[in-house]
Amino acid sequence: MKIDEIMTRNVRCISPDETLGTAAQIMWENDCGAVPVVETDGRLVGIVTDRDICMAAQLQGAPLHDSRVTSAMARDVKTCSPRDTPVTVQAIMSQNKIRRVPVVDDQGRLVGIVTLGDLAYLVGKETTGGDGMTCTSIAHTLAAVSQPRLPRFGGGYSDRSTGRQNFPPNG
């Protein structure tokens, strides 16, 4: 089983120059909580989540249509390859405490996205070829993702893709 068999393709994405209003609109229309940020050549440069937008709105104190995606997106995004296995991606999620992993090709272009829910669904169906991934390990994953993320700044979580580096609380 490879990730390209279970990932969501044709993901709605956004350019870094667009506004948070547009990003929120995409989330609203697609009932999703994260929008990958790509350059015109399709290269992934970031990801922005509903939480990022909430926090940007709070810290910037401006309407969403006045803020650019670059002001809130996370730039250090953990990605996987379409050829990775679900087990590999699960490890990426657990280690980084993230629920969603964009899938990029060898040139760094976005080709899809895979979520913890996708993996849970896979296990729930008890499909063969899950490469040893079990209910046990997905439960571990969920548990890891759900753990408190403190310490918030620096420490072991500085590589987490939250875009927090863009939010110095000086408003």
Partner: protein, 248 residues
């Protein structure tokens, strides 16, 4: 977990403990299912072996058997949980819930609510009245969408305009299975825990349940499968009609 094998006590104490534990589990076995019986059959010979070596070698064997003993006790704990009627999904919410829950009021601004979420690193706040009765819940996503649909700064908008209209809560005495059902049906990850007067006393999340189950019963495939089902259900796209934009 306090060890059942305090080192200062002699091997005879350990032996007694082991025998008692074994008898206890044998009784429980009457009530257990096939899966549990199979596990017992694999464990019992090890236990008997340990008891025999303790009997014949006394103190010396205790050291040598230490690791095996710890492993056995762990297995027994698992076994004991699984052989309870229904297993861990019957555990009450109050074993799992978090009691230090931050909240906000409907008349707070979204700016304040987002500030609390930022400070406390949480994504969900119960909305309470003056006596901490739960009226609604507001999430970071609700705030994001309110910022979109209302098009103004968060400081100019009240929690009231963005908080959820429907409210799902549970009691501390509800079982985890009940709460998981609620989460699946409502597609929510977090449920406020309230007392008989609707006063907020805790919050339980799907992640809390997963963390509770992790050390206890992950071999218990039924409950793990249930967890998966829950998560999968929550993660499915919701039908459009059931997702009114916050603030509308």
């Amino acid at each position: 977990m306090t060890s059942r094998f305090p080192k200062r006590n002699g091997s005879s104490t350990v032996l007694t403990e082991l025998s008692q534990l074994r008898d206890e589990l044998r009784v429980k076995l009457h009530l257990a299912g096939l899966e549990v019986r199979a596990q017992w059959e694999s464990v019992e010979p090890k236990l008997l072996g340990l008891e025999r070596s303790l009997e014949s070698q006394g103190e010396g064997a205790l050291e040598a058997a230490g690791e095996l003993a710890v492993e056995l006790v762990k297995t027994f704990r698992d076994f004991s949980v699984r052989s309870q009627d229904g297993g861990p999904s019957k555990a009450p919410v109050h074993d799992v819930m978090r009691v230090r829950v931050h909240s906000c009021q409907a008349t707070d601004t979204l700016h304040t609510a987002a500030q609390i979420m930022w400070d406390k690193d949480c994504g969900c706040l119960p909305v309470v009245d003056d006596v901490r009765r739960v009226r609604a819940v507001i999430t970071d996503r609700d705030i994001c969408m309110a910022a979109l649909t209302q098009g103004v700064a968060l400081a100019e908008t009240l929690v009231l305009s963005a908080m959820s209209r429907s409210l799902s809560v549970c009691s501390p005495d509800d079982s985890l299975g009940t709460v998981e059902d609620l989460m699946r049906k409502q597609q929510i990850r977090r449920v406020p825990v309230v007392d008989a007067n609707s006063v907020l006393i805790g919050l339980v999340s799907l992640g809390d349940i997963a963390r509770y189950l992790r050390p206890r019963s992950l071999q218990a495939s039924a409950s793990a499968a249930q967890l998966i089902e829950t998560l999968a259900a929550i993660s499915e796209p919701r039908p459009r009609a059931s997702v009114p934009p916050p603030g509308f």
